[in-house]
Amino acid sequence: MTGLLKLQDVKMYFRVRKGFFRSVDVKAVDGVSISLKRGETLALVGESGSGKTTLARVSLRLLKPTSGRILFDGKDITDTPEKELRWFRRRAQAIFQDPYSSLDPFMTVRQLVEEPLILHKIGSVSDERLELVVRALEDVKLTPAEEFLGKYPHMLSGGQRQRVGIARALILKPEYIAADEPVSMVDASSRAEILYLMRELQEKHDIAFLYITHDIATARHFSDKLAVMHLGKIVEFSEPAEIVENPLHPYTQALIDAVPEPDPANRFRERKSVMGEPLSPANPPSGCNFHPRCPYAMEKCSKQTPPLIEIKQGHYVACHLYPGK
């Protein structure tokens, strides 16, 4: 596995008008570095407003970061003009959250999956493209493919639509896919199926995945590395098993405690570690931006931002509870 995608100290600020003369910066992503190898999955876990979607958009260069660098396969693409990015557009793809709104309702499955080929001028004749479409549908287990080619999105279940979305991303044989909450709108009973499928395709085609989710339980099972984001910053990073067994950041601990498991005793107890509403990135607190929600907040926490440091081999955390050596 070699390095494929690298984000270095990426900041993405959005300027928002506040009143007539004033404007404020919403720090959606505030100094994040990640790297992804070929064939590897990095899960990015956080609540809404944590900046995980913005980070994914930056990683696809759909947004130009305010500062920091984006490197793809060794090339710096941070400021590359759009018309020189065609090669990257082909090699990096996205899977979106909502399979109900991300597919054009007036296009058939064939047209939907074929469209990226036409845009990238792959396959000169229609037959050639059809063969690729059929193969992509088979890859995502929409079989027999012939039966699905003529269907429209409304004739498919949520899980099937999401497979069409995956086939669309897959058909260009990308090396990197950013999947933004790919299963949050799929039934609980089918989520694992889609995730297994993505895992299988990843291994088959050696694809690097950025798996964005609010659900730390699926991230635990379907990623190689796990980063927890809170208000634009990565607060903890390690291997998924290590994070679940040994969560260090109070926010990670809270996310883990909030996962419901089917247990009839649940109804007799209140769920633990409820830490107020997620905070707004438009008005982030000083110091550690988690401190207003933190049960262990100390004086220092409202004043100094804790750096992300390696506490033990491969386990990083940004929290004053764990002073570095």
């Binding site: 609540e47 809404s48 279940s157 949520g158 899980g159 099937q160 039934d187 609980a188 009973s189 089918s190 989520r191 694992a192 199926e193 297994y196 609010h214 659900d215 730390i216 339980a217 699926t218 635990r220 099972h221 679940v244 067994e245 809270a254 996310l255 883990i256 909030a258 996962v259 419901p260 498991e261 089917p262 247990d263 009839p264 649940n266 109804r267 209140e270 769920r271 570690s273 409820v274 830490m275 107020g276 509403e277 997620p278």
Partner: protein, 323 residues
């Protein structure tokens, strides 16, 4: 009184007309619920769980083909009432409903406190002052501070909007509240808060509720009893302990195994697609997806087999045991 049935559903059917034929959304459902109980209804999308909720309050779309059976709430059979009577006697005051995504259809230009109070003014003829007073009280009950009353929906977070919707459902002190996926669009931390709030309402007010979700883990957070629905039918119903700890129906077993757990094995899934309700499979409707399918399952419909008092399962695997 405490042990009496609040709700008895018997042989309930709700079919719709569609271009593809008749959709059998609710097909011969029988359930009972006691006062103060929380009943979870769990199943995949398209299994008819929301249709069941609509059938309970007689909220029928224009393309209804068939609506029959009985739904006795508080001694009254809703199926037999005409629309006017349902509106006057049942909705809001006996049964209220929190619709899926309701927090997104709050009126953006009306202060939320007024929206909470509105049913009291419209349906009960209360004065504005009286309705506002009750609304403030109910809003406090669902964990909203007094200053929220005069705000507009866009000034509230998702969690607060969902509380507003729940407050509106409680305003006329109904005996039963039906909640359809009330936390599906919310972050886990807010979901936990809403669930804790519902548990408190249940404990403090003795509120009875039907909690509809596709997520059996979430259902376990509030339900005393759980009914699992598949293709328009209830395939297993029992206490939370019975259904979650010793699930009998293969579909229930699959649903539980599909829950991703932080510690433990990788999640399983229910293979294949839910059936088209215009032409459900013959025999047992789950048979095309069932790991234990037998010859019998393909052509004859399994009976509802009582495992124990209050616990029944619709599956041929258990036909021998009950005799």
């Amino acid at each position: 009184m405490g042990q009496s049935n609040l709700l008895s559903i018997d042989g309930l059917r709700l079919y719709y007309r569609s271009a593809r034929g008749v959709v059998r959304a609710v097909d011969n459902v029988s359930l009972t619920m006691r006062v103060g109980e929380a009943l979870g209804i769990v199943g995949e999308s398209g299994c008819g769980k929301s249709s069941l909720a609509n059938a309970i309050i007689k909220f029928l779309p224009p393309n209804t083909e068939l609506y029959e059976g009985s739904v006795v709430i508080d001694g009254v059979d809703v199926v037999k009432l005409d629309e006017d009577e349902v509106r006057r006697r049942i909705r809001w005051r006996v049964v209220s409903m929190v619709f899926q995504g309701a927090m997104n259809i709050l009126n953006p230009v009306i202060r939320v406190g007024f929206q909470v109070a509105e049913p009291l003014i419209v349906h009960a003829g209360a004065s504005r002052e009286e309705a506002f007073r009750v609304a403030r009280e109910v809003m406090r009950r669902v964990g909203l501070s007094d200053d929220v009353f005069n705000r507009y929906p866009h000034e509230l977070s998702g969690g607060m909007k969902q509380r507003i919707v729940i407050a509106t459902a409680l305003i006329m002190s109904p005996k039963l509240v039906i909640l359809d996926e009330p936390t599906s669009a919310l972050d886990v931390s807010i979901q936990a808060q809403i669930m804790n709030m519902l548990k408190r309402l249940k404990r403090e007010l003795g509120l009875s509720m039907i909690f509809i979700t596709h997520d059996i883990a979430l259902a376990s957070d509030i339900s005393d009893r759980i009914a699992v629905m598949y293709a328009g039918e209830v395939v297993e119903v029992g206490s939370a302990e019975q259904v979650l700890l010793s699930p009998h129906h293969p579909y229930t077993q699959k649903l539980i195994a599909a829950t991703p757990r932080l510690r433990g094995p990788k999640p399983d899934f229910v293979p294949g697609q839910p059936p088209d309700l215009t032409s459900p499979p013959s025999g047992c409707r789950f048979h095309p997806r069932c790991p234990y399918v037998m010859e019998k399952c393909r052509h004859s419909e399994p009976p509802s087999i009582v495992v124990k008092d209050g616990w029944s399962v619709k599956c041929w695997l258990y036909a021998g045991e009950a005799g």
